[in-house]
Structures are given as structure tokens and as C-alpha cells.
Amino acid sequence: MSARLGLLGAGLVLLASIGLELVYHPAHSAFGWIEFPGGWAAVAAAVTAGIWLLGWLVGALLRRPPAYYAGSVTRRLAASPGEDEDA
């Protein structure tokens, strides 16, 4: 419940900030391409979605079981010395 209220509050303040930009929107020089009212909110939304997607992808590709490093080659060999000699 409190999380929903927090989100609602954040949404309202965001709308207020966009409204403020509509009323008073100073001209910018170098970065005008992004500085339409709510432009940075759109950037943040895209960044958030992009990070989530890439994070999910990296997790899916690179996540290994918790004991992944515990079963390293050196430890396996240390646990059974002479295995190679016999081979």
C-alpha cells in the first residue's frame, strides 16, 4: 500500500514538474533536441527499461550456480592428487 502511495506521489510530482516546464521553458542551446517538456522523464524511462532488459539478458547469459567457483579445476585436482599421473 505504502509503495503504491509512494508511486502515486512520484507520479504527481513528475506531472507537476512537466507542467512547470510547459509554463516556463527556457530555450537551450546545445541540447535542445531533448529538452521538450518531459523530455528527461522520457529519457529516464527509456534508460530504466534498457537497464532492466540488459540486466535480464546478462543475468540469463552469465549467471552460474552459487557454488560455481567452489568447484574450480584446481580444487578438484587438489581433492584427487595423482589423478593425472594415473591417466
Binding site: 508511486l7 541540447f31 529516464a44 543475468g59
Partner: protein, 566 residues
């Protein structure tokens, strides 16, 4: 040492002395002494003039400058003292004398390094930070922590060795001054690499992402403060305006966001977030203007505050629940409301208005804009939204909100809460009154921090990030990460290199065994052939008819005559 040193001691030496004495103190006295020592040491530092070079001794004929105090060093030295005080207050009740000693020694070494005026003094303190900081990982105990400590130490010592090589080259060139260096020279290259290891440059960063989560609850707080900021100071001192640092910084900002989003261990998430923010500082050093160096120093201060606050909050979680894995946490705000609140302040401290991070980042952004790096400017703004997402919202949500999986029975101890409260206060004071910070930066600042544009831009970035994160979590798309190890470049030396070495050694043994057998076979074959011709029964030992001998002599003489005539 000359008389110009107050109490005949360089800055930070009191902390080092305290570290040596700590094991001898009674247990009851050790905690309060450790907490008070940074304050005494800070007072000692204030006895020095604001700008001074203090020489003393020589190294094979070259003069040394063990103490150099100026505005840049003072910013780092002062925040290090504050962080040591807050950290030791935080650790006051929960840790023993060994950790107090390690923390004091670590803080004293880092402070000694930022006030070093020559490369030899820098090298000594550089190595001391390695040796003292590794204890904060090692004392946690257990095979995993000790293995992590060993790998951490190897990279730290590697950085020290590179610094030593640069020192020798500089000595042969006739100057040991710790000033600006050209990265194109051999000594400059070595120094850049040495500083880069400790600053968490990409591919050299794994000591950080592996070491910090392996440290004790309080150890990670100290680790988050000193080593990396000392390296940032060294980079700002030696390589301002080195252009390719821009590229390094961009990589640091981008890749860490993705890893932090995927990572399960929240202290490792913070470690990736730490590298991300170091990327901001590295970019500012690459820009190299006065405003950018101001931004680096200011952001180092605010970063020390909010990052140590976040590590403090997760240290408290670790103390009460035994874990910092997002897959095992959640709903802790009911049992630990104050810790949750401080963690939220730490998250907001990164870039929200009224917090120190907002002020310091605005300097770096302004420096990028003024240097006509429009792309960098946009990236840094987007990066500040990204880091708020992964090292702020994600940590707060998965540790303290959402559904609970591990139950914490009670709030953090009072000393931990006091450390967090003190750090939060500093974060807010410097956010509300940024002039207090700007007045102490290396160069004069004539920039207004709270402008309409900047506040609106930052608010939109943070609020939209929070909203989209909330929607993704609400829709069940952004879930708790699955438990497991996320592969990073340390896979190369933790799995690939051992595999290569072991497999290579195995094949070498087989080859050696095989080649020994082959050689024996060849030797026996040669021996058999030799015996066939020259042995007692060999054909050379047989008797031959006289006629055939005469024939062979005639052929040889004819050949000789032919050669003679032609």
C-alpha cells in the same frame, strides 16, 4: 623531520600510531579511543598551514617532500577523517580491536598518501593501504573470504609494484616529485596503470566487486571510502586533462549499470555502483578543466558520504539477517525502520535535490557542457538516473520493501544507527548548503547549484526512473535476481587460467612421458645399428678378400686423377 610539522608528525600519523597501540589497549578503552582518534587527527591537520610543502630527507641523492598540503589534498584529507570517524562510530559496538586497528591503519595510510609530496612517500602509504585494508576482508574468516582477500591483495600489491617501477624510472630521470605526468612516457604509463587498478578501471576492477562483498559488515564501509578515492585523488593530481580517461570513464559508467541490475548480492550491487560513480570522476579528470577538477573533488566528498551510508545500511542488514542477497531479503522495514530510512537517504543522496550528490554532480555536468562534450553530458545525466535505479531503488526495494523472506528480529545497534545518522546529516547539510563544500574546493566556483533547469531535469529523471521501476516491479517483470554467481572478468583467472594451467601441465606431463619413451627407443635403435656395423659381429669387423680392396683403391686413385686434371 623539520620543526614545521605540528607535534613532529605528518597528517594521518596519529591514526597509524593508534592502529599500532590498539591491540595493547584494554577492550573497554579500545572502542572510544578508536572513535576519538580521527577527531584528534583532524585537529592536528588543521594546525598545518593551508598551503605548505615540507621537505625532509633524501632518497639516493634526490630530495623528498613527505608532506604537501594544498586545497585538493585538504578536501580528500578532511573527508577521509570524517569518514573514519563516522565509520568507527558505526563499528564501535559490533567489532573487536583487530578491526579497529585495521580501520585506523587504513585511514591513516590513505590520509598519508593524499598528503604525500613525492613518489616514495606515496608508494609507502599506497602499499600500507593494501596491507591494512586486506585485513578487513581477511578477519571475516572462512575459506571464501580468505581466498577473496588473497586475490584482492594480489591486485593491490600489483598496483604497488607498478608504482615502484615508475618511482625507479623517475629516480633515474632525476625527480621524485609527485606532480603531473605525461601518460605517453614509460613512467607515466606505469603510474596511470597503478592508479587505474585502485580506481577500478574496467578489467582491473574485480578486486573491488569481489572484495567488498567478502568483507565484514563494517569492513565494507571503510573499503568503500579510502582506496578508490585515494586513487581518484592521485589521478586528479597526476593526469588532469588526459583525454583517453574520458573513454575509460564512459565504460565504467555503462557496464556497471547492467551488472548491478543483474547482480543478486546487494553489497556487490553497491560495489558496481561505486565503480559507476568513479567513472563520473574519471570523466571529470579526463576533461581536466578547473571546474571539472572541482567537480571531481566535490563528488569524491559526496560519494564517500552516500556510498558509505548505503554500505552501513547493508552492513546492519547483514548483522541482523546474515545475508545481503536480494534473493533472500525483503520486507525488513518493519523490523529495521531506521536503517531502511537511512538507506533511502543514501539512495537519494546520489543525485536528488537537497543532497550532496546533486551539488557535486552538477559541477561535473557543467564541466562536460562547458567543454562541448554534449554526448558525455547526456550520458552522465542518463547515468545518474541509472545509478539511482540500480544502486538506490533496487537496493531499497529488495532489501527493505516487497515481501519478506528473512526475518530480522530487531533494529540495528545504536552505534550503527549513530554512524548512519551522522553520515546522513553531513549528506543533507552539504546538499542544503552546497556553499560549505564549494568554498573548500581547489579552484574558485562561481556556479549556482540550484537552478530551475537543473532541479527540474534531475527531478524528472529520478521520478520517471522510480515510476518505471515501480511499474516493472508491479507487473512482475523486474523480479528478485536468482541466486548465483554472475560471471565477470575474474572468470578469466578464477576458472579459465587454472583450467589452462592444469590442462597444460597435464599435457606437458604426458608429452614429457611420451617423449622420454620415444628418446629411449631412438637411442636403442641407434645403438643396435651401431652394433650391427661396428660390433664384434658387425660387418666392419669381418675379413674381406684382398682383390676387392685393390679394386676400391684403384677406384679412389682414378677419382683423384680425374679431379687433378680437370
Amino acid at each position: 623531520m623539520p620543526d614545521t610539522l605540528p607535534w613532529h608528525l605528518p597528517p594521518g600519523a596519529l591514526l597509524l600510531l593508534g592502529a599500532l597501540l590498539m591491540p595493547l589497549l584494554p577492550r573497554l578503552l579500545a572502542g572510544p579511543t578508536a572513535v576519538l582518534l580521527p577527531l584528534v587527527s583532524l585537529w592536528h591537520l588543521r594546525q598545518f598551514p593551508a598551503e605548505v610543502l615540507i621537505g625532509g630527507g633524501d632518497f639516493f641523492g634526490l630530495p623528498l617532500t613527505p608532506v604537501r598540503i594544498d586545497a585538493l589534498a585538504l578536501v580528500f584529507g578532511t573527508i577521509f577523517h570524517f569518514a573514519a570517524f563516522a565509520g568507527l562510530l558505526y563499528a564501535h559496538r559490533s567489532q573487536g580491536r583487530a578491526q579497529h586497528a585495521a580501520a585506523l591503519g587504513y585511514a591513516g595510510s590513505a590520509i598519508g598518501a593524499v598528503f604525500a609530496g613525492d613518489l616514495l612517500t606515496l608508494f609507502v602509504f599506497w602499499e600500507l593501504t593494501s596491507l591494512t585494508s586486506v585485513l578487513l576482508i581477511w578477519v571475516r574468516g572462512g575459506a571464501a573470504a580468505q581466498a577473496a582477500a588473497l586475490r584482492y591483495l594480489m591486485l593491490q600489491i600489483g598496483s604497488g609494484l607498478l608504482l615502484l617501477c615508475a618511482l625507479v624510472l623517475q629516480w633515474s630521470a632525476g625527480s621524485l616529485a609527485f606532480a603531473t605526468f605525461d601518460p605517453a612516457t614509460p613512467s607515466g604509463m606505469l603510474l596511470l596503470l597503478a592508479f587505474g587498478i585502485k580506481a577500478g578501471f574496467p578489467l582491473l576492477h574485480t578486486w573491488l566487486t569481489e572484495g567488498y562483498p567478502a568483507a565484514t559488515a563494517t569492513g565494507a564501509v571503510f573499503l568503500s571510502v579510502f582506496t578508490t578515492k585515494m586513487a581518484i585523488y592521485a589521478l586528479a593530481r597526476a593526469f588532469p586533462g588526459t583525454e583517453w580517461l574520458l573513454a575509460v570513464g564512459v565504460v565504467m559508467v555503462v557496464f556497471t549499470l547492467i551488472y548491478a541490475a543483474a547482480e543478486d548480492d546487494l553489497r556487490r550491487v553497491l560495489a558496481y555502483g561505486l565503480i559507476n560513480q568513479l567513472g563520473f570522476m574519471v570523466i571529470a579528470i579526463g576533461i581536466g578543466s578547473e571546474l571539472a577538477i572541482n567537480g571531481t573533488a566535490a563528488h569524491a566528498v559526496s560519494h564517500v558520504l552516500y556510498k558509505s551510508l548505503l554500505f552501513m545500511a547493508l552492513g546492519a542488514v547483514m548483522l541482523r539477517t546474515g545475508t545481503t542477497r536480494a534473493s533472500e531479503l525483503g520486507g525488513l522495514w518493519r523490523a529495521m525502520p531506521l536503517t531502511a530510512l537511512f538507506c533511502l537517504f543514501g539512495a537519494l543522496g546520489m543525485s536528488a535535490p537537497l543532497f550532496a550528490g546533486f551539488a557535486s554532480k552538477s559541477l561535473i555536468l557543467e564541466a562536460a557542457a562547458k567543454a562541448d562534450h554534449a554526448g558525455l553530458w547526456a550520458l552522465l545525466l542518463a547515468g545518474s538516473a541509472g545509478i539511482f535505479l540500480v544502486a538506490g531503488l533496487k537496493v531499497v526495494w529488495f532489501a527493505f520493501l516487497g515481501s519478506g523472506r528473512v526475518r530480522a528480529t530487531r533494529e540495528a545497534p545504536w552505534s550503527m544507527l549513530a554512524g548512519m545518522a551522522l553520515t546522513t546529516t553531513a549528506l543533507l547539510v552539504l546538499g542544503v548548503r552546497p556553499d560549505l563544500l564549494l568554498a573548500h574546493l581547489p579552484y574558485p566556483v562561481d556556479k549556482a547549484i540550484y537552478t530551475y533547469d537543473h532541479v527540474i531535469t534531475q527531478l524528472q529523471l529520478l521520478l520517471a526512473t522510480a515510476l518505471v521501476f515501480g511499474v516493472l516491479v508491479g507487473l512482475g517483470l523486474w523480479r528478485r535476481p536468482a541466486p548465483g554467481e554472475l560471471l565477470d572478468v575474474d572468470w578469466l583467472w578464477r576458472r579459465a587460467l587454472p583450467w589452462l594451467l592444469v590442462t597444460g601441465a597435464h599435457h606437458y606431463r604426458r608429452l614429457r612421458a611420451g617423449s622420454a619413451a620415444t628418446l629411449t627407443q631412438w637411442r636403442e635403435d641407434a645403438q643396435r645399428r651401431l652394433m650391427r656395423s661396428g660390433g664384434q659381429q658387425g660387418y666392419l669387423a669381418r675379413s674381406w678378400p684382398t682383390g676387392s680392396m685393390v679394386l676400391w683403391v684403384a677406384i679412389l686413385l682414378s677419382g683423384y686423377l680425374l679431379l687433378y686434371f680437370f
